[in-house]
């Protein structure tokens, strides 16, 4: 019976969709982030925490 339940649960498209979605997104945001044109922007962004001098 356990086998029967397992078979019934079998929705192979579900993990496949998950995997495809994940891999696609991963490729996309990695490419997006590492495009050469963005370098200086990210360097500036990385400095935000250090930019909080008060004026007193």
């Amino acid at each position: 019976m356990k086998q029967e339940v397992l078979k019934a649960f079998d929705l192979p498209w579900l993990p496949v969709i998950a995997l495809v979605l994940f891999v696609t997104s991963f490729v996309l945001y990695t490419w997006w982030t590492y495009r050469a044109t963005n370098k200086s922007h990210y360097e500036q962004a990385g400095n935000i925490p250090l930019d909080d001098k008060d004026i007193a």
Partner: protein, 724 residues
Amino acid sequence: MSSENRSAVRTGTPEKFSYDDQIVKLFVIATLVWGVVALLLGVTIAFQLADFRLNFGLPWITFGRLRPLHTNAAIFAFCGNAIFAGIYYSHQRLLKARLFSDTLSKIHFWGWQLIIVSAALTLPFGITTGKEYAELEWPIDIAITVIWVVFAVNFFGTIIRRRERHIYVAIWFYIATILTVAVLHIVNSLEIPVSLTKSYSLYAGVQDALVQWWYGHNAVAFFLTTPFLGLMYYFVPKAVNRPVYSYRLSIIHFWSLTFIYIWAGPHHLLYTTLPEWAQTLGMIFSVMLWMPSWGGMINGLMTLRGVWSKVRTEPSVRFMATALTFYGMATFEGPLLSIKSVNSIAHFTDWIPGHVHSGTIGWNYMLIAGMLFYLVPKLWNSELYSKKLAHQQFWFATIGLVLYIISMWVAGITQSLMWRAMDDAGKLIYPNFIETVVKIVPMYWVRAIGGTMVLISFIMMVYNLWKTAKAGKKTDVVVYEAYPLHASHVEEGATSHRKLEGWPMIFAALSLIAILVGSAIEIIPSLMADQYVVKVSAIKPYSPLELLGRDVYIKEGCYLCHSQTVRPMPHEVVRYGKASNAAEFVYDHPFQWGSKRTGPDLARIGGKYPHMWHYKHFYEPREVTAGSIMPRYVWLFDQKIHYKDLPTKMRVMQQLGVPYTDEEVLKSVETAQLQAKGIADELAQSGVPAKVAEMDIVSLIAYIQRIGMDYTSMPDEEIATEGK
């Protein structure tokens, strides 16, 4: 980006503003107070496992009731307050804006403390949902939701009023935290109230388990990991005064974590009745989780390049670097544990609490300590009272933690190997479970000592920070200055992703989509579970008395020491009986599979012993099992069965789809009393006074004797044909 070079593209005059640090101070104080409480509770239950006498035969402080209090205090009170302190401090500074509303901040603070206090006032009294890490009952669940919304409004309101266009990566992690925790909490807490202090989970059995561990796993991810990574991305650069090693890597880190974490739930349920493919999927994702985690750790540690000497000299840096190291270790161990073969050894053993604590103590406590050593001198305008004390604290905490981890590895692996040891004839070498318990009790002592050292280290920190704050000098409110954000200020020619990061709501929506898609994929099978779990006619709902007994089981937290699911492995089947089947649990609201076998599995306990055995065992386990570490449950012997709510309970079960007839509901009390009398009559033959029929112990025995009976009494052929 400093304000000077930005002024080139900015128009208008800069605005003056100040930050709300008062609220940060309050959360810092709450962190320290609840930290002591959480650790004290942890040490208490650690000693209780080493020596049962420390349960003192008192209901309110018995292991099963204190353990949920410990986990809730550690996660939601200690870590929760620390997260709020760190977020409120960094959020304002990263956005150059005061928190949206001082009033909301105060409601958030006091509301959260009230929730914690109500947890402390309910859990010891056995008011619990019986779902691990989500034990709080429905009124408190609602309060949590309300306060979380207050937090969210305050948080996003601040983003809207910001004076810094780019949303720094720390805030991305905060956003993911806020959104995900809301979704997790609401979905997992769906329950139908029976009374103010009692409810039943909307889900049952396999489905409940799926939802619960989807929640449990992601609570670790989105309460104990993502917010702390956000804090790491702010406080590590601050502590060493240099930017994060690679901002781009931090972005990859963020998205990968968000995507993978939420999808990796099922590894908590390997080898149970969960569908095979979901197990495999969860496993693959868990292993993939390893990559972004280590990317994050490397990013944090590399930020310290060139200033490594500060690890030796600066307590804040030292604690943060250690936190990152333990984060690396825990996130290496986690995926390892999800590999099927490793998991089959580690699951249900002490290896798991060991792993959990390398995360909570090694990562969360250490990072919080690092953050506080940075924050407290700043907030109270003071110098750290004693670096020496901080370094001593560090060694106490580290050695304590290492003792904890190692003792639990040894205990876990030892016990697991004993459980599975079989001779050539296929017989168990250690058929008596208790042999495997007695063997590891020395390790429980080592763990308790390690935990005590961690507690002492924490108290050292509290003292150190208290002295620091006391020496603080009063200052005027610090005023800051920055340009306001206007639409006209979007820099010309900004690339599309830059705009995206500038649009917090769109960004939040994207994260939400990632989370929801992941959740959906994870949840679909469980929502469809009803269709697939074939109801087997022999599996009947609990009798009214058994239902009450089950509530005693939940109330006493038996699930924290006992599992109720036999895995399909030879040694388990030989030890306990037939492997568990999804159909067995269709009426279990909530499921009680458990996650730790401090005691043996109970899925096949029904009918194993006579009533009298249980009667004696619950009164004094040592009387029937020498060397047992199970607490006594003496109060169940003079606590009357609470029949008042019984019909309501049955009605709620009816609503949940349990096929009780109206007549059964009407006659429930009568039926229950009759069954109780039957058990009492049998006990009377061994000289037990007849009034036992009115006591809780009889309902518990009724439940215990029922567990697994319907399924095991079915002939195998029948199971096979009905399942079709």
